[in-house]
């Protein structure tokens, strides 16, 4: 059952990922990208990580892609059919093939380790995924968490200063 579900979701993910780069209309590409993000969120759910799934949809599909769609709409980028062949395609395909070989080598030559640490599926089911993440974030990884929040604060202040005409 789970394998069948995985296959279906993977098919949708791959097809929409291909559509992202083949669609001529930028808005349709953006829509396909949202679909891909959605499939990734489904993978997180299947890996017993519902919190990550919700955050994936909220941040990527709900916030970042809205901004991208917003920008496309404001700039009114229409279908650009004049530029068909360029060196970019060649470079991109070489890079793509290289990454593909890289991934295949990594998958078959490297040793896959078993899950490390005490976080098992049962523990997540009993305690809740978000509780576990919160606990780890505010105890073990407190310093990185605080540094990230200061970075975000700096980014917020920076964007306010950039947007303001006079301070």
């Amino acid at each position: 059952m789970e394998t069948l579900f995985f296959v279906i979701i993977s098919l949708v993910a791959i097809i929409s990922a291909i559509l992202v780069i083949t669609c001529k209309n930028p808005i349709n590409s953006a829509l396909s990208l949202i679909m891909t993000f959605f499939c990734l969120a489904t993978y997180y759910v299947m890996l017993d990580a519902p919190f990550m799934a919700a955050i994936q949809v909220m941040v990527y599909a709900g916030a970042i892609m809205v901004l991208i769609v917003f920008t496309i709409m404001l700039l009114n980028i229409r279908v650009n059919a004049t530029q068909k062949h360029s060196h970019k395609v060649l470079l991109g395909s070489i890079l793509g093939i290289f990454i593909l070989i890289n991934t295949v080598v990594l998958l078959f030559k490297s040793q896959v380790s078993n899950p490390v640490g005490g976080l098992t599926g049962d523990l997540i089911k009993n305690l809740g995924h978000s509780e576990l993440i919160g606990r780890e974030m505010f105890t073990t990884f407190l310093l990185p968490f605080e540094i990230t929040s200061i970075l975000l604060l700096v980014a917020i202040i920076g964007s306010v200063i950039l947007a303001k005409k006079k301070i």
Partner: protein, 354 residues
């Protein structure tokens, strides 16, 4: 029930399908008659009668409207971006409906010795002896409501009309802003409950004979969440994306027939969802007097609370004039977000000392 499919009893599948159907039909019927109720209530508030001709006191009006919209001509503007234009009403409608999957509309009832939690995405684990539901229920709802914006934005962009584009731009800016303050305002509730699961949040409000509501503990959060949700689903007084005096009909100017009806349904389905969520988070969900002893009373209380909140929405529509756009942005960013943050800090300080 002896038959098992993939390790789960047959009853599990039957119950799931029935629950999905019940929730879906409930939302659809409520949406259909909410249009009628809105016209009738606003009519009476403005000393008019509202629809009177179709059926007794206009009771068949939603059906007549539906038939009319169904048989209207389907028009796709020649310069529209076809795919996005066709898919936009669907994207607007689907998130509004699937949010209902995690909202508990009743306690656990027992049928043929099989315990059924009245919540679509939940099941009773017999070995563990407790109900499992989506333990990030509220985050799921926030995630889905953040998807709702695409329908409106795409509709505005794909129609290739100035009014639609203006409506779409307004909608996206407004929905992103108010999504933030709605999300921030309910963090105070999670600080009290210590869980994101909606079933547990409802259980925690069952004290005092079903009246230990978070509304009394977090009145500011309740108010802010409700107002921000109204803005997020583009209800009056925040219905700027379809302000008819300025933008004809906003993002759905170019839509006709069933596609227009789908936007309309999405708006009302969003209203049902927001009211159900407010009832669950702040008004104790299905809790009420004797709701634990008589499980069938739970859904009755829940529906009553949802309908009361929907009446409240319509009341607001009849009373409050529309905001201006800069006032709306000012309210969202400079009033609600700081207030929500202050509320979180105060809840944290009080929670530390109690």
């Amino acid at each position: 029930m002896g038959i098992e499919i993939l390790g789960l009893p047959m009853m599990y599948y039957i119950v799931m399908v029935v629950k999905v159907l019940v929730a879906f039909v409930f939302v659809l019927l409520t949406v259909a008659y909410a249009t009628y109720a809105e016209r009738k209530i606003i009519g009476h508030m403005q000393v008019r009668l509202g629809p009177m001709r179709t059926g007794w006191h206009g009771l068949l009006q939603p059906i007549a409207d539906g038939v009319k919209l169904f048989f209207k001509e389907e028009i796709v503007p020649s310069q529209a971006s076809a795919f996005a234009f066709l898919v936009a009403p669907l994207i607007a409608l689907v998130p509004a409906f699937i949010t209902f999957a995690v909202i508990p509309f009743g306690g656990t009832i027992e049928l043929f010795g099989y315990k059924i939690p009245l919540q679509v995405a939940a099941y009773y684990d017999t070995t563990a002896g407790q109900v499992f539901d989506v333990n990030v229920g509220v985050l799921y709802i926030l995630a889905m409501s953040s998807l709702g914006v695409y329908g409106i934005v795409l509709a505005g962009w794909a129609s290739n009309s100035k009014y639609s584009l203006m409506g779409g731009l307004r909608a996206s800016a407004q929905m992103i802003s108010y999504e933030l303050s709605a999300g921030l305002s309910i963090i105070a509730v999670f600080m009290l409950s210590g869980t994101l699961s909606l079933t547990k949040i409802v259980e925690l409000q069952s004290g005092f004979g079903g009246f230990e509501w978070y509304l009394f503990k977090q009145p500011l959060a309740a108010f802010m969440f409700f107002v921000c949700s109204l803005a997020e689903i583009n209800r009056t007084p925040f219905d700027l994306p379809e302000a008819e005096t300025e933008l004809v009909s906003g993002f759905c100017t170019e839509y006709s027939s069933m596609k227009y009806a789908m936007f309309f349904m999405a708006e009302y389905a969003n209203m049902v969802t927001v009211c159900a969520l407010t009832a669950t988070l702040f008004l104790g969900g299905w809790n009420g007097p004797f709701a634990v002893a008589v499980p069938l009373l739970g859904p009755v209380y829940f529906v009553a609370k949802v309908y009361f909140l929907m009446f409240f929405c319509m009341w607001i529509r009849a009373t409050v004039p529309r905001y201006r756009y800069d006032q709306l942005m000012h309210l969202g960013w400079k009033v609600f977000i700081p207030l929500a943050l202050v509320n979180i800090v105060i809840t944290g300080i009080i929670g530390y000392f109690i």
